[in-house]
Symmetry: C2
Subunit: 171 residues, 2 copies
């Protein structure tokens, strides 16, 4: 892509997408957050070309999402770990995973489970309202312009914009 300057747009989704809206970046973050931080391990696990991986990693380090850290002195070796900023991308990954599980898991069920150490249950992510804890959905939310600038033409109520019958829930 020839750098369409999405980051300029007054939209946090656009800003986030400018960094994260790339097939590899999401997968790199998944791996790094699950402990795969070494260059060659990422190459093998993802099947990404070394060139592209190097480019993504340095972008992510530049953005402060990952950090390059020495993990052994002799011989000196570096790997990549998530910063706090990077760790906060975890909900994005959970949301993607949740959606993938719901719509693409085969007969056998989802390929991975999330185990919540706090409550000791296997679980899934719910997009909950920070205020009341109820799920946030397209139908029960509205987007309004915020203090940081108006949000272009997308300033309407989100409502009955779901297709009438198409695409029913899976099993």
């Amino acid at each position: 892509m020839t750098r369409t300057p999405l980051s300029d747009v007054a939209c946090s989704i656009a800003r986030a997408t400018d960094l994260f809206g790339d097939a590899w970046t999401a997968l790199i973050m998944r791996d790094v957050l699950t402990g795969i931080g070494r260059f060659d391990d990422l190459v093998h696990d993802l099947g990404v070309s070394r060139k592209v991986l190097a480019a993504r990693l340095s972008r992510l380090v530049e953005e402060g999402v990952l950090a390059r850290e020495r993990y052994q002195e002799r011989p000196p070796r570096e790997h990549y770990v998530a910063t706090a900023k990077g760790a906060e991308l975890y909900p994005v990954l959970l949301a993607l995973m949740n959606w993938g599980d719901r719509w693409y898991a085969g007969e056998a069920g989802p390929p991975a489970r999330i185990h919540h150490l706090t409550c000791e249950h296997d679980t899934t992510m719910v997009a909950a309202c920070a205020h009341c804890g109820e799920p946030l959905t397209v139908d029960n939310t509205t987007q309004l312009p915020g203090p940081g600038g108006q949000i272009g033409p997308g300033t309407q109520v989100i409502g009955p914009l779901i297709a009438s019958r198409a695409g029913e829930h899976p099993a």
Copy 2:
């Protein structure tokens, strides 16, 4: 991209990313979910090239995420609306937006607010555990292989993999 076959991988994030891991797709979904469904409106709102938009839209329709619907008969005009499958991508967008707000909102604050109609508060999304309602974070979760296949090398506990000090929280 030359179609690296991510959808084959036994990982729901990879599957979701195969479709959604594209700078434009996320923004198209944002627009469609907020009511911008017409071809030319999308071109103008996003600044995407008509060729790429046409390609993305037909892919999204193929995948059952969007539906092409006639919204007036004379003259016949079609626009795009989200299916149920598409509407369920909303949490992904909320998570991206949340992250963008936290890390890229300027002085003025975030460019848009989410208003929860149910509880009547402006709110943000929390990645909550479906079981206990507490937030899911990198530190309090573990990924385990699920019924639908093992998840490659990423089968470790997620834990102290956050960079020691780098990337502290914003204001």
